[in-house]
Amino acid sequence: MTSSKSGTGLSRRQFLLVSLAAGGGMLIGFPITGRSQGAAAASPPSAFIRIDRAGRVTLILPYVEMGQGAYTSQAQILAEELEVALDSVSLEAAPAGQVYASPLLGEQITGGSISLRGAWVSMRTAGAAARMMLTEAAAKRWGVTADSCRAENGRVMHKASTRSLSYGELAEEAAGLPVPELPALKSPGAFRIVGKAEKRLDSPAKVDGTAKFGIDMRPEGVLHAMVQACPVFGGRLAALDTAPALRVKGVRQVVQIDDAVAVVADHTWAALKALRALEPKWDEGANSRLTTADMIAAADAALQREGLVALRVGDVAAAEASASRRFEAMYRMPMLAHAAMEPLSCTVKISDGRCDVWVGSQIVGRAQRVAAEAAGLPLEKVSIHNQYLGGGFGRRLETDYVSQAVLIAKQVKAPLKVTWSREEDMRHDYYRFHNHSLVNVAVDAAGQPTSWHHRVVAPNIMARWLPAYQKDNIDLDAVDAAHGPYDIPNVLVEFTRNEAPAGLTTGNWRGVGPTRNVFVVESAIDELAHAAGRDAIAYRKALISQAPRTLAVLARAERESGWGSPLPARSGRGVAVMSAFGSHLAFVAQVSVEGAGHVHVERLVCAVDTGIAVNPDIVRAQIEGGVIYGLSAVLHGKITVNRGRVLEGNFDTYQVVRMAEAPKIEVHIIESTEDPGGVGEPGTSGAIAAVANAVFAATGKRIRTLPIDHAQLRNT
């Protein structure tokens, strides 16, 4: 790509960089910015479209496919404006490189439901400009005006004659033409590919076993390693007798690094068996007595500390002073692991002064940097070959497993695949940390809230992970959606930072800030409605009358769920509404609670306004999946620490929702012509809150601590 001719009159105001592609054809580079066409002009390209001489279109994207359907929906957007068939577009993941970093975030990230939102305007603009240039090239060749031609299905047609030329035949001429500055985009009414439930492009390879994930890499001569880090957070390797491992058949080598031991073998089982035979002596460090109770107590204590003001509207103190009633509640959310189905793995080949890394990563540029640092090589000597991700959920936004694999591979004279056991994956996560919240609401005589004060106790993940996403030392994700979509005249949102003990790593988890805050806000609002003697949906509607899109999804969910119709004893419905990630959603969960306290989620209805649903079936799938992820958290999710170690290690102790527990999920999409929002995260956020409220409706027991304690719901 970089070898192609460039500098074809690129002006500072120009959005696209168009050139001849290496090997023939046309190459269009453009920045994915999430901003309007004009504002994007100064950014360097981070995505590329290649149209080769055969007319094949390749879209090189700085995003990865981790199940969210990005490759399909992004291709739909391009095909729409470029006027090609969807199946003529193929996708390539961009290699690591600063050029691919999101200008908004300064990193090459797939997460936060931003991919599609970022690409919406820029991808269409690039596609439309390329189509215009190809049309112009044909018009020139025929000596006619571009107006008399039209593009369709990868060809330019001259209307008055029967002449037509394929994009492949025109690509190189088009590459030399002036680039239109602000090409007109189609209006949503003219879309023929966007908005259609096109089939996922990655389905075929994922149903026949041919799709390659990071863990499937097998470079020539690869050896297999299993690794164990100090079971106590932050501990170090003190001493090791390697002999028991070396006696296992197939074992080649034992590698020691600062905080972990790895066994290298001909196959993974030999490595695992040998690893289990070892009895490393650990220097357990400062966390050797750490317990979950300690961390809950610390977060509770933090609730008493005034935080940084993230949002202040009106005068909360005055409203509280004149309130006819005050509501106060404390909410506690536990530590959670990601538990993606593919345990962490990274394959490394260090040879000839180069380092090749095969991995599934949500943050490719950072993976390249940490690999270079660990290998002691300059960045340009390190290549990241990104593969399909067997689930991300935020875990693969971290790069600890990449640097660790490189450190181990440096000591091995062969390409090396390092795989974490499930237990290692669960016990050395970047956890969703304990988040506690304190809510104070002033209520008037009619039961309406007049002020909302929410103190969020959470770590500042962004300080470490993405400093740009802070303001005045406030983690902006932690306080996202902290007062809900509600129209309350006086609002105070505080952020009280509470970090995990050093060595216990914390990070992003599906649904991020809103997953914590929607539970808090929707639980509190539900209590307020109940205290006011009002219907939970009617009460909310009155508070969002100025937010038509939120109101519309709530009304839709109310209707589709049969809200208000009778249910058997110990059954109930709960609602949650949210506006986040550029989308608006309402959820109604229906549960029944057994006499013994077990909660069955029987049905979950979601109405979503995500603007234009680029691929409605993928929108549905993302909501369905997000809901299931949230149900695992609300029904079971809890990581417990004792003596500085995580007790849960596998799916026997860290339970997740299985098919028998999965409710019927109905997703209703509101037709819209607004720009697309994100849908990967909010299903998780909303499901948790809706289920908690449904449990109250069924049992009269209010859930303020997650996960639901089934024992407390016993009908005694």
Binding site: M66, G67, R200, D202, S203, P204, A205, K206, V207, D208, G209, T210, A211, K212, F213, I215, D216, R218, V248, K249, G250, D266, H267, T268, W269, A270, K273, A339, A340, M341, E342, P343, Y388, L389, G390, G391, G392, F393, T419, S421, R422, I618, A621, E624, G625, G626, V627, I628, Y629, S632, N650, F651, D652, V656, V657, R658, M659, A660, E661, A662
Partner: protein
């Protein structure tokens, strides 16, 4: 010691300890990476294979136990009518998301359909609850199995 095993219709000699699970024999020795590692303790189903047609968790199936049994993995699932029907239904309904668990889901579903050509929701839930999907594709898996059953019964223009 060396074992002679029958995988996808071929005989393979593998020189590993007898306690080596089929999961790692398939992935690391035979290079058949379609069978996935998820938990190692038969709790997630990602490694499901067929041993003489029965669904088995490869992570809990030592190579010494398979003897002369016919092993089938996701790589040859399409050679069976049930497998074809399921893969077609999976594509039709776009069941997959990240896709990592789907080899195991399909292998479990294939064993179910082979034994029970017209399963109810409860039948499906019973068998398929051994397979975890963290992307949450359960509803589509259930629908996919029903759809494959109709293909096999001659509905929907089976190919």
């Amino acid at each position: 010691m060396a074992y002679s095993i029958r995988v996808n219709g071929e005989t393979r000699e593998v020189d590993v300890d007898g306690d080596t699970p089929m999961l790692w024999v398939l992935r690391d020795v035979c290079g058949l990476t379609g069978t996935k590692y998820g938990c190692g303790i038969a709790m997630c189903g990602a490694c499901t294979i067929h041993v003489d047609g029965q669904a088995r968790r490869a992570c809990f199936t030592p190579v010494s136990s398979v003897d002369t049994a016919q092993i089938r993995t996701i790589e040859t699932l399409h050679e069976t009518p049930v497998g074809q029907a399921l893969q077609r239904a999976w594509r039709e309904l776009d069941v997959v998301q990240c896709g990592y668990c789907q080899s195991g889901q399909l292998m479990s579903a294939a064993a179910l359909l082979a034994a029970n050509p017209k399963p109810t929701d409860d039948d499906i839930d019973m068998v398929m609850s051994g397979n975890i999907c963290r992307c949450g594709t359960y509803g589509r898996i259930r629908a996919g199995i029903h759809l494959a059953a109709t293909y096999l019964a001659g509905g929907g223009g089976a190919t």
